[in-house]
């Protein structure tokens, strides 16, 4: 059934609403009203009769008010009539709050917008750098206060975070390192066999694992596991005003939340790296044994000759720096979270991506420095 009848009698038109004018019929009523093309040149008066409508809700009332306004803006004398007292109240309430037409959307300017976006990103990157440096300063100031008054150090918190970030990460780090160690040995064996240099697989695995791979795997897993957790924890606290609560109680959020996490990461990452190294070397041992027939005692003997303590030190010296950068990025991103869940998700993602990127960059810088120092 049509939602209305439209009849014209000379200069007078009658639009009679019928059936339910409610939100669940709004789509049909709306399209029927849009299809209406009155002959505006002949009309002077339009009556919108609502007496025979079955029900009218706010959306129905809005459609009536909108239709009346459309006729009126065409210069006609339009009225809504036959409304009972209740309907009259509703229609008046809706008419008083009719939304204004939307302003025209801005004209898209593809090139200018792309340039503006690039500029905004560049400025944001600049601000990020300033923020991280500023944050580093705050951490240093906090550490200085702790050094002057060691009772401010939150030992229990540090131990908890070492357990969560370090101990609980051990199984997954060791499993991944074992597999990667085995894969390096296997692929190395296939390549070096062509030169009859299979025995050097042990050197390859030993040096690569101790200098780079053991640490990188541990650091990347830390960034994904602990970095995201720290951003989410601190971000959720920020959303629920817990950080503000800490401040007003007179506690410094940097001392309470950030420093224990940073210290925990700086302690855990080197330790986990050692375990990661062992697992990767063990993976190499298994692969050499299976693919090259190098017996474990021979593998260990060759390893002794191939690597020195210096290789281990080169790997381990980088670990605290990487832990620091992971922790700082995670905490900075956490503190940047705004009120919405959307923002929490965005900053957690940003935390992990930036941390992994910075870990790789830092590793590259170390590689250049060590190369120029002939280490």
């Amino acid at each position: 059934m049509a939602a209305f009848t439209y009849t014209v009698d000379g200069s007078r038109a009658l639009l009679e609403a019928q059936g339910p004018w409610t939100i669940d019929h709004a789509a049909d009523i709306d399209s029927a009203l849009r299809a209406l093309s009155p002959d505006l040149s002949r009309l002077k008066h339009v009556d919108i009769a609502v007496g025979s409508a079955e029900r009218i809700d706010t959306t129905g009332a809005w459609l009536l008010v909108r239709t009346r306004a459309a006729f009126q803006s065409a210069g006609l004398d339009a009225t809504i009539k036959d409304a009972s007292a209740d309907r009259q109240t509703l229609i008046e309430a809706v008419a008083a709050r009719a939304p204004a037409p939307l302003p025209a959307p801005p004209v898209p300017r593809p090139i200018a917008d792309a340039l503006a976006e690039t500029g905004a990103q560049a400025r944001q990157t600049g601000r990020d750098v300033v923020e991280v440096v500023g944050f580093l300063g705050e951490v240093a100031a906090g550490l200085w206060r702790i050094a002057l008054d060691p009772r401010r150090l939150r030992l229990i918190s540090i131990v908890t975070h070492i357990e969560r970030a370090g101990l609980q990460a051990l199984p997954i780090v060791m499993l991944i390192s074992f597999l990667i160690g085995a894969i390096i040995a296997q692929q190395g064996a296939f390549q070096l066999r062509r030169f009859g240099a299979e025995v050097f697989v042990v050197n390859l695995v030993g040096i690569l694992v101790l200098r780079e791979v053991g640490l990188l795997l541990a650091a990347i897993i830390f960034a994904g596991r602990s970095g995201s957790a720290y951003t989410a924890e601190i971000g959720a606290m920020k959303m629920r005003e817990e950080i503000d609560a800490l401040r007003v109680i007179g506690l410094n959020p940097i001392e309470i939340l950030v420093i224990p996490r940073l210290i925990a990461l700086v302690i855990s990452l080197p330790l986990v790296t050692v375990a990661s190294n062992f697992a990767a070397l063990l993976g190499g041992l298994v692969a050499c044994w299976l693919y090259l027939g190098i017996d474990p005692p021979v593998y260990i003997d060759n390893l002794r000759q191939a690597v020195t303590v210096a290789h281990l030190q080169v790997g381990l010296i980088k670990a605290p720096f990487m832990a620091m950068i992971i922790g700082i990025i995670a905490c900075v991103e956490g503190l940047k979270v705004q009120g919405s869940t959307d923002s929490l998700g965005r900053h957690t993602t940003a935390s992990v991506v930036k941390a992994i990127f910075m870990v790789i960059v830092l590793d590259g810088i170390f590689a250049i420095v060590f190369a120029s120092l002939n280490i």
Binding site: T22, I23, D24, A26, A27, D30, D57, T58, T59, W62, R66, D86, T89, L90, A93, V94, R97, A98, P99, A100, L102, Q338, G339, S340, T341, D342, S343
Partner: protein, 258 residues
């Protein structure tokens, strides 16, 4: 408003327990079409649990809940869904989706249940936002940019999006200053008159009870202690009811009854 009108919500023998702890036991409650029912009770007596049980957010151990003639515990999913389209809920903290703007929040139920074109969706959402007394520019703001009172209004706009028959309000004026609370009460009253709503309101606010509720139900001892007009409350003999309605904070009530 009339005493004879049929109940739009009928709760019989409602029992809700969380583990060992029974919160409600054999609760009976009627809400009549077109009335504003205020539900009061001491903290932790199960006012909000009653509301959440009626709308199906907490598991119910026993009893029947009939809304608009549909038995909510035994009917099919389709029947329940049809009823759910006809009620709106204002949660205590607003529960606006924080990643959407106010306008998008209002449009969520519209998009889910109806197939309207973008222009009409936009108009309906902005109309609702205007009807709850928010400025037009509030529509494009995110919930985190709103004050407490604006969040309540925005959440009410979302609750009213589908032009419901019943609106559940969980402590609508808590956390608002007395003037905003008074304005919000008046807003609810006006909307209830204009739209013919039935309002189920959990509240602590004595002024709301005095100014806009047609009937009051007091929950205590795991059931409805008494339901009736404000005058019935004043004469009812129960220590908590007496302390609540005749206590030092009930001056507004005394003034309202005269």
């Amino acid at each position: 408003m009339s005493q004879q009108s049929e109940p739009i919500i009928r709760v019989r023998g409602l029992t809700v327990a969380f583990g060992e702890r029974t919160v409600l036991e054999g609760l009976d409650l009627d809400v009549r079409r077109g009335e504003v029912l205020g539900v009061v009770g001491a903290s932790g007596t199960g006012k909000s649990v009653t509301l959440r049980a009626i709308v199906g957010l907490v598991p119910v151990q026993a009893g029947s809940i009939e809304v608009l003639g549909v038995d909510m515990r035994r009917s099919s999913d389709a029947e329940r869904a049809a009823v759910e389209e006809r009620w709106g809920i204002l949660f205590q903290q607003g529960a606006l989706f924080s990643s959407l703007t106010v306008k998008q929040n209002v449009q969520v139920p519209l998009r889910e249940h109806l197939d309207l074109d973008e222009e009409l969706l936009d108009q309906v959402a902005r109309l609702k936002i205007a009807m709850v007394g928010l400025k037009p520019d509030a529509g494009d703001k995110f919930p985190s940019e709103l004050s407490g009172g604006m969040i309540k209004r925005a959440a009410l706009a979302r609750a009213l999006a589908l032009d419901p028959d019943i609106v559940f309000l969980d402590e609508p004026t808590s956390g608002l200053d007395p003037i905003s609370a008074g304005e919000f009460d008046q807003l609810i009253r006006n909307l209830q008159h204009t739209l013919g709503l039935t309002v189920f309101m959990v509240t602590h606010d004595l002024d709301s009870l005095a100014s806009i509720c047609d009937r009051i139900a007091v929950i205590g001892d795991k059931k409805v202690l008494v339901a009736g007009s404000l005058n019935d409350m004043l004469t009812y003999d129960h220590s908590w009811v007496r302390a609540y309605f005749c206590g030092p904070r009930a001056r507004g009530i005394a003034a309202a009854v005269g």
